[in-house]
């Protein structure tokens, strides 16, 4: 059964040291603030397949010990300042990846196999720095080399979606990567804009875009829970806020000033 809990109770389900998968669309920003406030540390992040503000905040707040990602960027607002500073300082274990390799790793976990072969990549220095990736002779078909990447089985997948029903079925629309995260993860925690009275699995139309409650451990309501990032049809991103973050987070002091105000503002809203 899916539990419907408060935002704080949801964040409290993420334990220090766990492998946490986060997406780039449907980002649980309110839950991220709650997580930082709870003082969790040593998290190992897997960005599916990239991240931006969320990863940068978690890094700046000292929440993570490792990150696997294909990129961290604030998009139009520029580079991710705490990510870059953390790399210079060696503040976390960095596992550079490439987008489809992260999907392949999740798919391996989804299928319960230890690795997944993937096209391309050969010739890239990623193979040099990712010693857990291997180049093997294909055991079947045309002879040739192929890259294999290990399964990625997150302890927790965390994302934000428009709505869930009372049973914990979550509407994810066409954002199937959120389902991929949930299939691979041991536990999935979801924040939503609202909980609806109707059964999302009732019709073929509504069920097609739904992640069933089987995969969902807990749901919490967080209105505008992706702010300042966008949420599909629900609201646009607050680009001015992201730009303000980008400017302030250039220095450690500026980052902490932003973070305190950000956490205080969230409390006011809640």
């Amino acid at each position: 059964m899916t539990d419907i809990v408060s935002l704080e109770a949801l964040a409290a389900r993420i334990n220090p040291g766990e492998l946490l998968a986060i997406p780039v669309n449907g980002v649980a920003m309110a839950a991220t603030a709650a997580l930082i406030e709870a003082g969790v540390s040593g998290l190992r992040l897997v960005c599916v397949p990239i991240s931006g503000l969320q990863a940068d905040l978690l890094i700046g707040a000292g929440t993570i010990s490792a990150i696997e990602t294909s990129a961290v960027s604030l998009g139009e607002a520029g580079g991710a300042p705490r990510f870059a500073a953390g790399i210079r300082a060696g503040a976390f274990d960095l596992r550079d990846s490439t987008c489809p390799a992260i999907f392949a790793g999740l798919l391996a976990a989804q299928k319960g196999v230890p690795f997944m072969p993937i096209a391309g990549i050969i010739g890239s220095d990623l193979l040099r720095v990712r010693t857990d990736w291997k180049v093997v002779d294909s055991p079947v078909g045309e002879p040739g080399q192929v890259v294999v990447v290990p399964a990625i089985a997150p302890d927790v997948a965390l994302f934000h979606a428009p709505e869930a029903d009372r049973a914990g079925n979550v509407r994810i629309g066409r954002h199937r990567e959120l389902a991929s995260m949930a299939y691979a993860a041991k536990r999935t925690l979801v924040t939503v804009e609202r909980i609806v009275a109707r059964n999302l699995l009732e019709t073929e139309d509504s069920a097609a875009g739904v992640l069933p409650s089987l995969y969902v451990d807990a749901v919490a309501v967080a209105e505008r829970g992706a702010w300042p990032l966008s949420l599909w049809d629900e609201y646009a991103g607050d680009d001015a806020e992201v730009a303000r973050y980008a400017a302030m987070a250039r220095t450690e002091e500026g980052f902490h000033a932003y973070l305190s105000a950000h956490l205080a503002r969230r409390k006011q809203v809640a």
Binding site: G75, R88, C99, A119, S124, L126, R176, S180
Partner: protein, 250 residues
Amino acid sequence: MSSASAERERRELLIATIAGLLDGVRHVAVGASSPIPAAGAMLLRARNEAARKPPVRMTILGSKQHNFFTNGSVELFDCAAQGRVDAFFLGGGQIDGFGNINLVGTGDYPTTNVRWPGSFGSAYLYHLVPRVILFREEHSPRVFVPKVDFISAAAHTPEVARRGGPYALLSNMALFDFASERGGFRLRSIHPPYTAADIRANTGFAYQEPEHVPPTAPPDAATRTLIRGRILDELAESYPAFARSMAEAA
């Protein structure tokens, strides 16, 4: 000429050049934050429609209107593996004369002194998309280097079969073809008012330079009209700020 209208003409030349490089593709994908490549793809689509040529499908990552995928963000990569993506754009903090690109950073990995976002899908897509257009507006020796500090994606890997790789390199100053048999770039045209000497002074890698290099052709009047009308309208959904700045230069 005001600087705003000079800037618009610079962008229009790049847009028209990209449309030319894409001629003949069935499906072109454009990454996020790439308004000029997206505009080039839209221009090709509009031209093909007018000329009753085969339609062009385009996917702009992060767009709703210009993205028909329903299987999540892995679908672009699966689509490329199936041979269904004919063209894509890659940039790079560094691009070298072998066509290798670096999206990671400069200095010794991992504590790179300059760190860029990361490799995104480049390590994979470079192998799988036949016509990869390298697009980097800044044309300088710090970008166009003899050898990249980190190979995010390799251009040439004879040890494995591949269908993809670099097709051309377009900057603010010039257009290069990629000669895969020689594994390097060949100067195709120079954007006015730059000269062959400017290109030599600002390119850190060796390339082939034919005796006569023509100027890059500016867009004709019909193309300009199309860009300033329909293309800016179509761009506004994904790149509102860019479309606005182009319109304001009018």
